[in-house]
Amino acid sequence: MKMGGVCKIAVVCLFGFGLQGCSGERSALDPAGKEAEELAKLFWIMLSGAGIVWLFVLLATFAAVRFPSSTFAGIRPGLFIFISGVIFPTICLGGLLVHSLRLLPGARDAKADMIVKVSGEQWWWRVSYMSPGGEDVVSANEIRIPSDATVEFELTSPDIIHSFWIPVLGGKMDMIPGRTNHLRLHPEKAGVYRGVCAEYCGTSHALMGFPVVVQTQAEFDAWLKLEKSDAVPPGSPAAINGERLFMSTGCRACHTVRGTEARGQIGPDLTHFGGRKTVGAGILANTSANVEKWLRDTGKVKPAVRMPEFNMLHSGETRDLAAYLTGLK
């Protein structure tokens, strides 16, 4: 009875916690796109192959210890080692090499339906969509793509190396200064997923994520049209005061809000900030309270952040700024 309890706890510890990472919005083993599906399949193939070899070695070891050596008189050791140690692994590895090479992005010659440019910044994501009209639609810290389309990401970085990874959709790809890397993904299931930076890039590397919204083509088209338009003018008195503060306290030197005089390029574009799901590159939910927190404790929320703290503003002012920003749908 007691043993049973202990065993159960052990099982939960070993598998429960271990497997928690294996499902949900950011698991490579719970795929929502073609590439991720193939990777997950490859993982299971390799895992079962390795499992079979492992079992075989265990059984062989057991047999060698358990039975007298005369039992194995029929086996020629040299040949046995040659077959299972040279020929088998060579063929296995060759097969895996061929299979995984086929999975490499670009190996398929599918034509991309759309292009999204993403630049890895310290510590956020600059995003721009090539709209059908030709001009780029600039956004940040969130990626929206239509399901059932092949999307080509053009990845780069101005200064240091990052890596762009949406585990449920496919493999990762480095963002290297001075280079443009191409990554093709084909999402299949609508939903909200999570992307991360997968290459250590500095203090706030772990605080550099982004939501990924996969939606139907129609929803996506409507969203892109909205994203392309200029910012909506503030509605409430608080938001109007917030806009005034935004222009007068220096925010506009770093941030762009299209349709206003804010044209800064250092920080993320905030034109439709209110329509995004998160604050601070995927780390806080986008609520007024969190925007205020971001403005007051920027460096605590995200160490080494490249935005100054505005804790000299009093609470009424941060509240108005938050009202303005969250209203930018």
Binding site: T90, G94, L97, A107, H182
Partner: protein
């Protein structure tokens, strides 16, 4: 046929398969890198692929030639046992031949693995 068992086995015979592998590797990677860097708009290795296949064929043929001639020496040096632990010219030959054969096999595998990406992907991406 008489054979000078006293003279040393030429060590180059043993190193040749590895050398061919290394040269083949260099030739393939350097050629592909230059082509992809100079003509990124091609994004396609086709002009090079045939060259890579040819070089691969030559490399494998070279290693095979060394392998088969080594096999002859190895057979020649069989005197009923497979030992090579003793300090005799005859066993030294057998040992070196054995090592050379193994290296030939390894090199062929290496060369083919180097060529597989060109065969399957055939693009600069």
């Amino acid at each position: 046929m008489t054979r000078e068992t006293e003279t040393g086995h030429n060590l180059w015979r043993m190193l040749a398969p590895l050398t061919i592998w290394a040269l083949h590797f260099l030739a393939c990677y350097v050629a592909a890198a230059i082509l992809c860097a100079k003509y990124p708009q091609i994004a396609d290795l086709s002009p090079l692929r045939h060259l890579i296949f040819l070089v691969t064929f030559l490399a494998v043929a070279g290693v095979a030639y060394i392998g088969f001639s080594t096999l002859r020496i190895w057979r020649y040096s069989l005197d009923g046992d497979l030992d090579y632990d003793h300090d005799t010219p005859e066993e030294r030959h057998r040992f070196l031949a054995h090592v050379t054969l193994m290296l030939c096999a390894l090199s062929v595998i290496g060369i083919l693995y180097v060529a597989i990406p060109a065969a399957i992907i055939g693009s600069c991406r």
